[in-house]
């Protein structure tokens, strides 16, 4: 049962000619990836809208189909039949390419995320590196969209997006580096293997260590910023710069942007699962009979739920708060965490290792938090010209 998809794929590939088998195998994987994650995107949009609705004591969409579950179909039809508007002064080639440049890399990034035992499209030796390399291409797409629209708001949004994405790329990668360091490999499959097994009833996931927990939290915050999710959605800021770099996009191009953003969120959540949450491993040894892909997608949906929950809770940051948070808190914490992970590696297992490493993380957390809040003066606001 666990290997059912792998077996079916091997059986299907066996029908092709011998020299064509690798490419047939790749095509099957790619088609399945696109189909599964595109439908997950559709489900997520409706669940997000319903969840946000409940958070705000509303019903959310409930008109199309039973309980509104067919809402994505209606949205898709609407996106397809809408007019595709390109501004007259826009750079039409770049304007056309921008959504594609977003969607292709995020699907590429999914290729190295293992979805179950032996279920990874490409098992690369430098999987994590590949993930971050293609992930960086989304920044290019955002700037292409903002620049080619020839609109002040879209350019502002793109500028904000670039500043934010580059700032948060650093803690994102640094917090991933701790895991690479401890697992001793850049391959996503090897990293998951390093988290196999159970000790004292608990899984040996990296998140259950002081440096792993810190790394996971830092990674998730940076991931929210990377995928432009609330509270880091300044580049889109509907209330200030009216959807930012999306402003001149309509119809299916906009739908592609939307898709790319969500797939990017899934990909980065998938990497977080791979790095910190033990990939497709079951949380308890008596649950290993459940197929591995159920665990992966269960964890993925849980992380998406957290993203939605955070979006329903936190207001958008200000630009200076965003930058302060990235450079004055996230970056030092990620560096300290890197050192902590090294110390953890060379201390003998036991209670003292836990205590030392927890203090090594908590102390700087308190200090950095104080430093971050010190500058923000929350006194009574004074107006110089008004009043």
């Amino acid at each position: 049962m666990d290997q059912i998809f792998v077996t079916i794929k091997h059986w299907a590939v066996g029908f092709g000619p011998a020299q064509g088998q690798p490419i047939i195998s790749a095509i099957i994987s790619v088609v399945l990836l696109i189909a599964v994650f595109a439908s997950l995107f559709a489900i997520t949009t409706v669940l997000e809208r319903k969840g946000l609705g409940r958070i705000q004591n509303r019903y959310g969409p409930n008109r199309v189909g039973p309980f509104g579950i067919l809402q994505p179909v209606a949205d898709g039809v609407k996106a397809l039949i809408k007019e595709d508007i390109v501004p007259r002064t826009a750079d039409s080639v770049v304007h056309f390419l921008a959504p594609l440049v977003l969607v292709v890399p995020v699907f590429l990034a999914l290729a190295v995320v293992p979805m179950g035992r032996n279920m990874v499209a490409v098992d690369m030796d430098a999987g994590v590196l590949f993930f971050f390399a293609v992930g960086a291409a989304t920044e290019l797409s955002v700037f292409m969209a903002g620049w080619s629209s020839r609109n002040k708001y879209s350019l502002l949004g793109a500028m904000r997006a670039i500043a934010q994405m580059i700032s948060y790329e650093v803690p994102l990668i640094l917090s991933a580096v701790t895991v690479i360091m401890m697992a001793g490999s850049l391959s996503t499959v090897k990293i998951i293997e390093a988290q196999a097994g159970y000790a004292g009833g608990l899984p040996r996931w990296f998140v259950l260590t002081p440096w792993g927990l810190t790394g996971f939290i830092l990674f998730m915050i940076a991931a929210a910023a990377e995928s432009n999710r609330s509270p880091f959605d300044l580049p889109e800021g509907e209330s200030e710069i009216i959807a930012g770099y999306y402003i001149e996009y309509s119809g299916f191009k906009f739908a592609l942007f939307f898709l790319g953003e969500y797939i990017g969120m899934f990909a980065v959540s998938g990497l977080a699962i791979t790095l910190f949450l033990g990939g497709w491993h079951a949380p308890f040894s008596f649950l290993t009979w459940i197929p591995s892909y159920f665990w992966f997608f269960g964890k993925l949906l849980a992380l998406i739920a957290v993203f939605i929950w955070v979006r329903g809770t936190l207001p958008r940051l200000r630009m200076d708060q965003l930058m302060n948070f990235a450079w004055k808190f996230m970056l030092p914490m990620a560096l300290i965490n890197l050192v902590t992970a090294g110390i953890w590696r060379f201390l003998s297992p036991g209670f003292s290792r836990w205590l030392i490493c927890s203090l090594l993380v908590l102390g700087p957390y308190v200090m950095l938090a104080r430093g971050l809040l010190l500058g923000s003066d929350v006194g009574k606001r004074t107006y110089r010209y008004a009043e």
Binding site: R54, I55, Q56, N57, A369
Partner: protein, 198 residues
Amino acid sequence: MLGEGIVKGMAETARNFLGSYVKEDRLTTVQYPEERLPQKEAARNFPFLVYDGDDWQAGMRCVACQICEKECPPQCIYITKSKDKKPDHAGKAQIYPAIFDIDISVCMSCQICVEVCPFDAIKMDTEFELSTGDRFGDLLQHKNDLSKSNTYFRKLHPTEAAEADARLAAERAKAEAKAKAAAAPKPLSPASVPALAK
């Protein structure tokens, strides 16, 4: 402590999320086409014509005096007087509107027509589901679309309807008393004839 406020906020939203499934009164949304809130008595949007009794043509209160047409700020009322006369609610022969049109795409819901009408014939409606596929034909309402019964008006604005009914009843009583006086063998004084002609 950094992060404390975030935890508090997340707890609050989680309470909202779970509470909305448990407690129905948290959800303030009214599922509009199926459920609807009761209309407020003071609500108004477009005017309609009131008629007494069951037959809208016989019971029409409007006497085509055209005051509302003249007073209407956006000029959305169009009236043509009839050639013949019909008895009004008090039994007096009156002209009636041959054509009475209101263009509700022009009407601005100011209620001035209601305030100037001396016959309590035009009142404000609360009907708001007026969307139509034909914005020229269907938004120009004719006499038959505009006519609505007095019972409907009583249901819509009970206080205002009671006042209007009392006023009309007083008028009817006065007319009856006058008719009785006229039926009595006392001829009209010659002095009052020129006054009537004027």
